[in-house]
């Protein structure tokens, strides 16, 4: 987690939702522990804010899409919308 604390922002941007959430939880826990300098606190807060934004982005990034994959005669796969009514 310490490594993640020092990870540059670009690295954070590649985290999955789950990883970003775990990192955010760790940042909060660390900040709450109070075992950090004031400078580190500011750093942690900044990082945590970024992570929470990444989490929120990941949640919103999924677009509703329901498809079915059909195998064509030549063996290739075709993706078509799927409606089940």
């Amino acid at each position: 987690m310490d490594q993640m604390n020092h990870a540059p922002d670009e690295e954070l941007l590649s985290l999955t939702y789950e990883q970003a959430l775990a990192a955010l939880e760790a940042v909060v826990a660390k900040l709450e522990s109070g075992d950090v300098t004031l400078d580190e606190s500011m750093q942690l807060f900044r990082k945590g804010t970024l992570l929470s934004r990444i989490c929120a982005d990941r949640l919103a990034a999924i677009e509703r899409q329901i498809t079915q994959l059909l195998e064509k005669e030549d063996g290739s796969v075709e993706e078509k919308p799927f409606a089940n009514d």
């Binding site: 807060f45 999924i62 509703r64 329901i66 799927f82 089940n84």
Partner: protein, 413 residues
Amino acid sequence: MRDAITVAELNRYVNTLLESDSQLNPVLVKGELSGVKAYPSGHIYFTLKDSAAAVSCVLFRGYAGRLRFQPENGLKVIVTAKATVYDRDGRFQLLVMDMSADGLGALYLAFEQLKRRLEAEGLFDPAHKRRLPLLPRAIGVVTSPAGAVIRDIIQVLGRRYPNFRLQLIPVPVQGEGAAEAIAAAIRRFNALGSVDVLIVGRGGGSLEDLWPFNEECVARAVYASQIPVISAVGHETDFTICDFAADVRAPTPSAAAELAMPVRAEQETRISQLRDQLARALNRRLDQQKLRLEHLRQHRVFRQPLERLDRRRQDLDRLSDALRRAMGDQADRTGHRLSVLCGKLDALSPLKVLARGYGVVRSVPAGRTLLSTALIQPKDLVDVTLTDGTLRCEVQQITDWRISGDGSDESRA
């Protein structure tokens, strides 16, 4: 005649015989449960019987804990057991390792046999099971495109997470070729890598209907999947080989959808909670620092910076007074001594002597005070200093008062 052996040796020997017989170790036996007795130790004792025979059985705690049902008197079961002779009383008994409900015929036996084989091979190993992702970017479903299962899944997903993404590979879920199609669909999703979690399943049905999910090829495809698999076959009470091989078994397709996707609102709440916690933690941190600073500021040094100085100044005043006092005493003592000395000096002053009529005679030009006439000749000049001035005089005559040999005065002129 051979030597007699002990009873213990006899029982041990019979056990050796039983253990070496592959037909008995293990052996599947079907019968009816009677005299079921569960002990506080966790072991379960019972008799397995049919219309013509009975055999004692013991189900040790470790095995009993794995049963999916409670053994009850009258229940028809198939036990998987090891035949032994109990050393203490020489009674023949079965050490039961597994028990399943009978009445399902050959299919069930096949199920039990395949299950046992794959389990021994490690296909159900908990250590091999993958964790489900918290938020799959897309969910893959392997089931029939018709019917309630896919509809239920879509409904539940939509409730939990309106903007979910789902890919379906439609497959037949019963009958000839269904198992192969299911296995192929699982492999296809793995080849495409387009989804983060798989739901494989079908609705309830007879054991025959569910059978494709008990086929070895499905179990192996599930086991080999790099994508975590949720198995959702039939109803809550139906267990299939696919369930055992899957990373997670869901009792129903709807439950599978719940396992696959988080509730978006809950996640959002969690994030905003963390965000609040973050802000609170930082504020607390800042408050702590502020408090510390305030505390320092309250310190007397900062509160009244002049007080210290004033006190020092007071010290200084007090010290200079003392010094001055000490100096004054010293000066007084010195002054007194001086006046005494001055008095003495005054008394000795030649001026005082001159005032009484004496004069000091000095030679000219040497200016040497004359104490005797010896160095002076008539006509020499001398200076005579009186109390208020000096007389330059020429010596006209010298009278020597020194006692001569004849006692008479001698005058020079």
